[in-house]
Structure formats: structure tokens, C-alpha cells
């Protein structure tokens, strides 16, 4: 039953992702409390323009103290194609799952994560495996970690992954009989 309910979004997700590689996303992580309760979104109105993070080149500031830092580089955003090696490993993980070897599949995903520790797709795969093993606590933590690595904002492929991750969080919570938490997680699916 579980497999059935997860299969369709997964296929959809894989289909879209296989069409093109850019790993990315838009909206975010809205969980406020670190210990698992999802807060509703409480974003303030966007601050005015000048507050936007400056992404410009450094400029000298002679009148400030010596320790004034150089401009920090803009945050590095994962915006590259998932490497072929990672895709091959995730593929192999899928094969092993189909063959019933869930730990073998997990081992393959962990290899992928060593190559790209910020692969949201790998976190999706690992969370799915743990969910299938009814290891709900692990599944939830993995899915929530995956939410951190969705990459650039405002990208439809990222949204697909984000929705999938929140769905996994919800299912993991349902597995632990936390139905309210599951409903809260699903509110993040758009």
C-alpha cells in the first residue's frame, strides 16, 4: 500500500528530473523548531530592496577598522547537473530495491551521498528506503535534511523534490502515529 502511494510521485519526480538535470528549488524550509514540529510559515513581508543580500564585488572601506572582512563571496548555490556517477548509483539503488535488497540499496545511496553530500535526490531515495523498512524516525530526519539541499529558488524541478520530501516527512509521521504533524507537513506541499 505504501509502495503504491509512493510510486506515482516518485515516477513523476524521476521523469521530470531525467528530462533535465538542474537541481534546484524555490521555497524552502519552513520548519521553525529543530525538534520536529512544523511551524506554519511566518514570513514577514519582504524587506525593502536595500536589505537584499548584496551580491556585488568587494569595495574598499578604508575608514573601518583593520579587521573589517573582505566581502564574503555570495553563498555557493548548487546549480549543477547531478553527476553521472550519482545517477548511476541511484539507479543501482532502485534496482536493488526492486530486487528486495533494501540495505544494498541504502549502501548504494550512501555511496552517492559521499560523492555529492548535498544531493536532495539521494536523500529522497534514502528516506524512501527507511520508510519502506518502517524506520520512521530515520526516514523523517533524512527527508528533512534533504529539504536543506534543494538548491536555487524558484525552479519547478526543485518544487517537485520539495513536495516529495514533505510527503515523505508526512508519511514518516503517520507511521509514528503523529497525524497532526503529518497534516502540518502536507501543508507545505504546493
Amino acid at each position: 500500500m505504501l509502495a503504491k502511494s509512493t510510486a506515482a510521485p516518485l515516477l513523476y519526480c524521476l521523469l521530470i528530473l531525467s528530462l533535465s538535470g538542474c537541481q534546484t528549488v524555490l521555497d524552502p524550509y519552513v520548519d521553525r523548531d529543530g525538534r520536529g514540529v512544523d511551524g506554519e510559515e511566518q514570513r514577514r513581508p519582504a524587506p525593502d530592496r536595500e536589505v537584499q543580500p548584496p551580491r556585488v564585488e568587494p569595495e574598499p572601506q578604508p575608514d573601518v577598522q583593520v579587521l573589517q572582512p573582505e566581502h564574503r563571496p555570495p553563498p555557493v548555490v548548487e546549480n549543477r547537473r547531478e553527476s553521472a556517477a550519482v545517477l548511476a548509483l541511484l539507479d543501482s539503488a532502485d534496482q536493488q530495491r526492486l530486487g528486495g535488497s533494501l540495505e544494498g540499496a541504502a549502501a548504494a545511496v550512501e555511496r552517492a551521498l559521499r560523492i555529492n553530500p548535498r544531493s536532495a535526490r539521494a536523500y529522497i531515495a534514502l528516506a524512501e528506503i527507511r520508510l519502506q523498512q518502517t524506520r520512521f524516525v530515520d526516514a523523517q530526519a533524512l527527508a528533512k535534511k534533504g529539504l536543506l539541499y534543494l538548491g536555487e529558488r524558484r525552479d519547478p524541478r526543485g518544487r517537485v523534490m520539495q513536495n516529495r520530501l514533505w510527503e515523505l516527512v508526512a508519511q514518516a509521521r503517520e507511521g509514528s502515529d503523529n497525524h497532526q504533524g503529518a497534516a502540518q507537513a502536507r501543508q507545505n506541499i504546493r
Partner: protein
């Protein structure tokens, strides 16, 4: 003597003989059962083999040609002109062709493959197998040690099928020519041995059959008494009765004693081949086979490392026998006699290269396995060690300590250290150096040196505040004015800054960046001690800490390993993963036994962690860690924290880049003063490692509510980038006071100040 008397004697004799025969038969049956049990059951104690991480090759992997060649050297691959055999490679310009050996991994077999790897700009550019591009190739892992029993017997089992035909033929030619004909004992063998010995003018052949030798090695002591010889003969006959020639030969090949390395006994041709020649048995050359076979007669006399001349003489004797028995042609014989012994370089032979890391492996294993399982069951243990990172870590610690030790310092007062490197995202230990002598198998400072941590604990204080962002942001002012507190014990506590000055009311970020003690202690008291202890616990310190306010300044003793666990949680965006050294274990038959999966547990809100990470980046940018950028480019955006304790007894640094998290500690074993701060000591070790390891940029990817903004240092209000006195700070948009300060008035003021 009367007839009756004679009959009486005869009858007694007969009865005694009968009784004796019955006893003998019972003894024989007993021996037979024992023999079979022993042979069937645990024939050998096989120590667990411990492996490093396998090297993954894929397009885009950050790796130089040199890195790959280093790994191939560790795996004892040979450079040959065509790389036609497994275990060989050839370098062609920027390309390396490798014929891999293949390996049975936890998750399946990696076959032997002929691959080409092209390097460009410090990464793998192309990867192909016989002309077709491939995604991923895994080399076999380097064996880094074993777990031995008290007797320290080590062996690597081989199947008869994988033993070169040449080797078994040479063995039988030298040790037992009638092996396939006799039934355990061979009169002809003894006579022939006698004649051969006479002809060769010395003892070249022994008279015992392979079967007898096996019995002797397996079940009997070394004493050569007549009684033992008899027992050996009986057991040899029994063994032949129950087992095929192939089974006996295979057992012999695995049992035979072939030398000693310190306390470790080398048993079997499989291990001997690895130990002396650095290659699997399938890859042995004829002259190496001859040497191995020759050594059986006197493993210590003919030990090629200690007695190379004797060994060479003996080898050539065996080559001659091989030629006489048509295993080699005469021409081959002459050429082979000229060859050197073909031993592998010394380093690769060491049994335990990484004692510090192995201690961690054994400790983590001992939670699940009994010592006997590890020493006898032939387990294969796959660890997380990265030999390349380990080498760089050892160098970084050794060289820094050497440079920092004053020449006149007495040995007992010399600087010591510990250094651990992990993978920031999953907690795998990549390198561990337990002291300035990395080969010393003793006190492990990473695991066992409990030392005061000093300021290295401060991120926990700031994190406990940042968890309450309604009240605390990085821009929040904290009080750096000296204060005194009377503790429940009656003592008073008055924290001091390193420079003994007060810095007014700095922003939180500046208090951390410059490691102000008073402001930190004040902040910790405002937030609450319980809250701080809870944060330290959630960061992964699994130890009851004293309820003292001085904890906020690091008046608590932790090991470098525990500190690594704390920073692991910060590096992994608030998700704790246990720092671990083992990935998986295969049983004696190569079947999956246990896996140590990636575990993640959310311990903190990623927004709070992102703010802390930003502050730790600023420590490097403009605070106590800035000297790292004397050697490293600022674009790396590294994050870390120094720690110095009272009287400069301990020098700490913990910090992270994109692919390495490392914790360095320097100090004296007698806890004496060192004259080092965190920056002048441990940071040097850390920086040297990060530079040598070509660390990747730390990726600060905050959740969307966290953004960078320019803040006026005096007022704390948001302002513009070019505004005088503004500083860039990460803020949480949900809680930050977004009041904006015009820059113009400030500029005018400044201008006026300048003019007048």
C-alpha cells in the same frame, strides 16, 4: 617350567595384548574423531582484515594523477608497459590505464576491469573501459591491518584453484614428489630424499610427506621425538583415509609457516605472497614462487628480508629442481637465476600502519563483537579511513609540532598533539593521528586525552542564544563589562578577557569573532545554564557535565574526538551523525554481516545553525582564526573556532571546509604550560592540513529566512553597504528589527569630523 606355567604366561600375554589392542583401537578411534573434528571445524583462526575506504573513480572527482598513482602504490599495483594483467597500470601522458583486480564488496562484486582515466585540472576528465565511457569504477580497498589473537597468527586463505599450477608443482617437486601416489607415508620419498641430499651435497629435501608435515603443523608440537613421529605417521594415514589429496594440499598451502614479522606469524602462501611480494598469489612470478617454496624448509634461515644471500641461494636451488622436473625449461632457468628476489618495498609490509585509527576501529567493534570473533572468524571490516588524508594529517601534526617545539625543551615537557579529520556531512572519520609519532601504538590523544576545551565551547553558548531569535540575533548587544559571581561553593568567579580589557557592548557576532570571555559568560548566564547544557548535549557530547557557569568558557574536559562530534553537528547543518570509523562488515565467507548505516538526527533548527556558521566564518575572516588566510584563499569561506585554556596549557582549533572537518589539539602530556594560543598552535596544524588536502569551499546554504545584510555597528540598524561603520551580518528576517537607518546623515557627520 611346567606346561601350566607356560600356558598361564601365554594367556596373560594374550589377554594383555587383546586389552592393549582394544585400548589402541579406542585410542585410534578417539584420535580419528579428534582429527576429523579439527580438520572439519575451525581449521584456522583467521584474524579480521581491516580495510581503508575504497577509492571511487568518476568523472569530476577531485583528484590528481599523482593521487591516483599514490593509491595504486598503496595497493601494490605494478607499472608495466601494457597493463595487461590485473594489478598493473601504465601512465601515458595525462592518462593512466589501470587493470583493476576486482573485489567482493558488501554491496556486490566489483569485477576486474581495464580502465583508462584522463586527468585535467586536478580532476578526472574522462573515464572509460575498453574505449567505452563508464560512470563509476571502485578500486579495491587498501588493507590497513588485522585484528590478531595473542599468538598473532595471521593468514589469508587461498583456494587451491587460485593457486598457480606452477606453485603446487614446484612445492611437490621439492617437498613430496610421490604426493599423489602415497597414502600419507612414503618409503620411496624417504629413500629418494636421502639420495637427493647425497647428490646435492647437503640437506635439500626432507623425508616427510606433505601430509605428515601438515599433521605436524596442525596438531603436534615441534619436538622431534620418536613417539611423536609414530603418532604423526598414524594421523597422516588417518587423514589420507578421510580426505582427498586436493583437500590436504589446500590445507597445507594455508597452514605452512613462512616467517615472522615482529610478533606476527606469517602463515600460508596467500599471506606470504602479499607480505613478501606485495601481490596476490595469482600474480606471482616464477622466481617468487621458487623463493616461497624454498622458504618452507627454513622460514627463518631463508627469510629473504633478513638473510637475502641465503634466500637467493635457496631460491636458485629450487629453480634448479623446477628445471630438472620440467616445470621450467633450461633457458628459463638461467634467466630466472639472474633475477633479484623481487621483494616489495618495506613500508607496505607493516602490519599496523595506523595504530591511532585502528584503536578507534577496535573500540567501535567491541561494542558488537567479542574478541574471539574478531581474531578467528576471518571477518572483513570496511572502514572510513582515507589513507591520503591520513598521510597529510600525520604530516601536518608532525611538522607543526616539530616547528613549535623549542630546541632546549626537555623531552618530557615537549609538545604533544592529536588531530582528527572527518567528513562534514556524514561523520565518517577520514584520518586520526593520536600523537606526534603516528606509528606509536600507545596513548591516543584524540580518543583518550581529556583536556579543558576553553573557547572551543563558545559556539554552544551562541547557539543556545540563537535558538531564541525573538531575543537574540547576531546583531544583539551583549555586555562585556567585568562582573563577579559568587558560586554555590562560596568561591567567586570573575571571568577575564584574554587582553584583560572590556569591549563595551559588542554585537553578539563580534563577541564570538574576537572570543570575548566576559561577554560570552554574561550571555550564557542570560540564556541559562540548563539551556546551555542541553545544547552541548544535543551537539553530541554524551557525558554528564558539571552545573557550573564556567562551562560557558570551556571549563570542561573533553577529548578531541568529542569536540569533533560537536562540530560535526554544526557542519552538518544541525543534523547529528555519529562520528564513526566503520562502514560495513563481511563474514568469513564474504557474505554481508553488518552495516553501520548513515544515521541522521535533527538536533537544531537549520536557521539557528546557519547564523552560527556565518559567525564562525567571520571568526576566520576577521577574528582569532584569520591567520589561516595567510596560507589559504579567502574564497574558501572556512568556518572555525580557536580555543586556549588557562596558562596556555591547551591549544585547540576546530573548523570545517566543504569536504573536511578537522579538530586539532596541542599541549603537554603533563598538562604544563605551552606558550601557545589556539591560533599560534593548533590552528597551524589545521591550516597546513587544509592547504595540503586542497579543501573545498565551505558551502553556506542558509534557509530562505536567513539573509546577509549590512548593519550599522553603532546602532545595530540595517543600513547600506557603503555606509561608514557598517558590517555585513547574517540575519533572520523573521525576527530582525528591520528598521532602516539612512546613511546620509552619518556620512555628513563623518565628513564634518574629518574637516574639523
Amino acid at each position: 617350567m611346567s606346561f601350566d606355567r607356560i600356558r598361564q604366561v601365554l594367556s596373560v600375554a594374550l589377554k594383555s595384548a587383546l586389552a592393549l589392542s582394544v585400548l589402541a583401537i579406542i585410542a585410534l578411534i578417539y584420535l580419528d574423531v579428534q582429527l576429523q573434528n579439527k580438520f572439519e571445524g575451525k581449521r584456522w583462526k583467521i584474524p579480521a582484515k581491516v580495510y581503508a575506504r575504497p577509492l571511487e573513480l568518476y568523472v569530476g572527482a577531485t583528484m590528481t594523477q599523482r593521487d591516483l598513482l599514490d593509491e595504486l602504490r598503496r595497493l601494490q599495483y605494478r607499472s608495466e608497459t601494457d597493463a595487461a594483467q590485473p594489478g598493473t597500470y601504465v601512465v601515458v601522458g595525462s592518462r593512466v590505464d589501470v587493470h583493476t583486480r576486482g573485489f567482493q564488496f558488501w554491496d556486490g562484486e566489483e569485477h576486474s576491469r581495464q580502465i583508462s582515466i584522463v586527468f585535467q585540472a586536478g580532476a578526472i576528465r574522462f573515464l572509460s573501459e575498453r574505449g567505452h565511457s563508464v560512470h563509476l569504477v571502485r578500486l579495491e580497498p587498501v588493507k590497513i591491518g588485522g585484528i590478531y589473537s595473542a599468538e598473532q597468527e595471521d593468514r589469508q586463505l587461498v583456494r587451491l584453484a587460485s593457486v598457480p599450477d606452477e606453485l603446487t608443482r614446484a612445492l611437490l617437486a621439492v617437498e613430496d614428489r610421490g604426493f599423489y601416489e602415497h597414502r600419507g607415508l612414503s618409503l620411496r620419498g624417504i629413500t629418494r630424499a636421502f639420495w637427493v641430499n647425497v647428490n646435492q651435497g647437503g640437506w635439500v629435501q626432507g623425508g616427510s610427506t606433505i601430509t605428515q608435515q601438515l599433521i605436524k603443523n596442525l596438531y603436534l608440537s615441534n619436538k622431534r621425538t620418536l613417539g611423536r613421529k609414530g603418532l604423526e605417521a598414524v594421523l597422516a594415514l588417518l587423514l589420507e583415509l578421510h580426505y582427498s589429496k586436493e583437500e590436504i594440499l589446500e590445507a597445507y598451502l594455508n597452514e605452512v609457516y613462512l616467517g615472522q614479522q615482529g610478533a606476527r606469524a606469517i602463515h600460508g602462501v596467500g599471506l606470504a605472497s602479499r607480505y613478501y611480494f606485495g601481490r596476490p598469489i595469482e600474480e606471482l612470478r616464477s622466481e617468487q614462487i621458487a623463493l616461497l617454496v624454498g622458504m618452507i624448509k627454513g622460514p627463518s634461515l631463508y627469510n629473504p628480508i633478513r638473510n637475502p644471500h641465503q634466500a637467493l641461494k635457496r631460491r636458485n636451488q629450487v629453480l634448479t629442481i623446477m628445471s630438472a622436473t620440467d616445470i621450467l625449461s633450461h633457458d628459463e632457468l638461467e634467466a630466472l637465476k639472474e633475477r633479484p628476489l623481487g621483494l616489495v618495498e618495506g613500508v607496505a609490509r607493516s602490519a599496523n600502519l595506523y595504530p591511532g585509527f585502528m584503536t578507534l576501529v577496535k573500540r567501535q567493534l567491541s561494542k558488537t563483537y567479542a574478541a574471539e570473533d574478531l581474531q578467528e572468524e576471518g571477518l572483513q571490516i570496511f572502514t572510513t579511513l582515507d589513507p591520503h588524508a591520513q598521510q597529510l594529517a600525520e604530516q601536518a601534526l608532525q611538522r607543526s609540532v616539530k616547528a613549535l617545539n623549542r630546541k632546549e625543551t626537555k623531552k618530557s615537557e615537549q609538545l604533544q598533539g592529536g588531530f582528527i579529520v572527518t567528513s562534514p556531512n556524514n561523520g565518517e572519520v577520514l584520518a586520526l593521528v593520536g600523537g606526534r609519532d603516528p606509528r606509536f601504538d600507545g596513548f591516543n590523544r584524540v580518543l583518550d586525552a581529556r583536556r579543558q576545551v576553553g573557547s572551543i565551547i563558545k559556539p554552544a553558548v551562541f547557539l543556545s542564544a540563537l535558538e531564541m531569535r525573538e531575543q537574540y540575533q547576531l546583531t544583539t548587544r551583549v555586555n562585556d563589562a567585568a562582573f563577579s559571581l559568587v558560586l554555590p561553593s562560596g568561591k567567586s568567579w570573575s571571568p577575564k578577557n584574554f587582553d584583560r580589557k572590556s569591549h563595551g557592548q559588542p554585537m553578539m557576532i563580534d563577541a564570538l569573532v574576537h572570543s570575548y570571555n566576559v561577554a560570552t559568560a554574561q550571555l550564557a548566564m542570560d540564556v541559562g545554564l540548563d539551556k546551555l547544557l542541553d545544547v552541548i548535549r544535543r551537539l553530541g557530547v554524551d557525558q554528564a557535565l558539571p552545573q557550573l557557569p564556567s562551562i560557558s568558557l570551556g571549563a570542561v574536559e573533553l577529548t578531541p574526538f568529542e569536540v569533533a562530534q560537536m562540530y560535526q553537528t554544526i557542519a552538518a547543518d544541525g543534523f547529528t551523525s555519529p562520528v564513526r570509523a566503520i562502514r560495513e562488515i563481511l563474514d568469513g565467507e564474504g557474505k554481508p554481516l553488518k552495516r553501520y548505516p548513515l544515521k541522521v538526527k535533527q538536533a537544531f533548527d537549520p536557521s539557528a545553525i546557519a547564523l552560527l556558521q556565518y559567525a564562525l566564518q567571520e571568526v576566520m575572516n576577521r577574528g582569532t582564526g584569520v591567520s589561516a588566510y595567510g596560507r589559504l584563499p579567502r574564497t574558501l569561506g572556512l568556518a572555525g573556532k580557536t580555543g586556549t585554556t588557562n596558562d596556555q596549557r591547551d591549544s585547540w582549533f576546530a573548523g570545517m571546509g566543504g569536504d573536511y572537518l578537522a579538530v586539532a589539539w596541542l599541549g603537554r602530556d603533563d598538562n604544563g604550560a605551552t606558550h601557545l594560543t589556539g591560533s599560534s598552535g593548533a590552528l597551524k596544524v589545521w591550516t597546513r592540513f587544509m592547504q595540503d588536502a586542497k579543501v573545498k569551499p565551505f558551502q553556506w546554504t542558509p534557509p530562505p529566512d536567513i539573509e546577509l545584510a549590512w548593519v550599522d555597528r553603532e546602532s545595530g540598524h540595517l543600513t547600506q553597504q557603503n555606509c561608514p561603520g557598517s558590517v555585513q551580518v547574517a540575519i533572520d528576517l523573521r525576527y530582525q528589527d528591520l528598521e532602516h537607518q539612512s546613511c546620509i546623515r552619518k556620512r555628513v557627520n563623518r565628513w564634518l569630523e574629518k574637516v574639523f
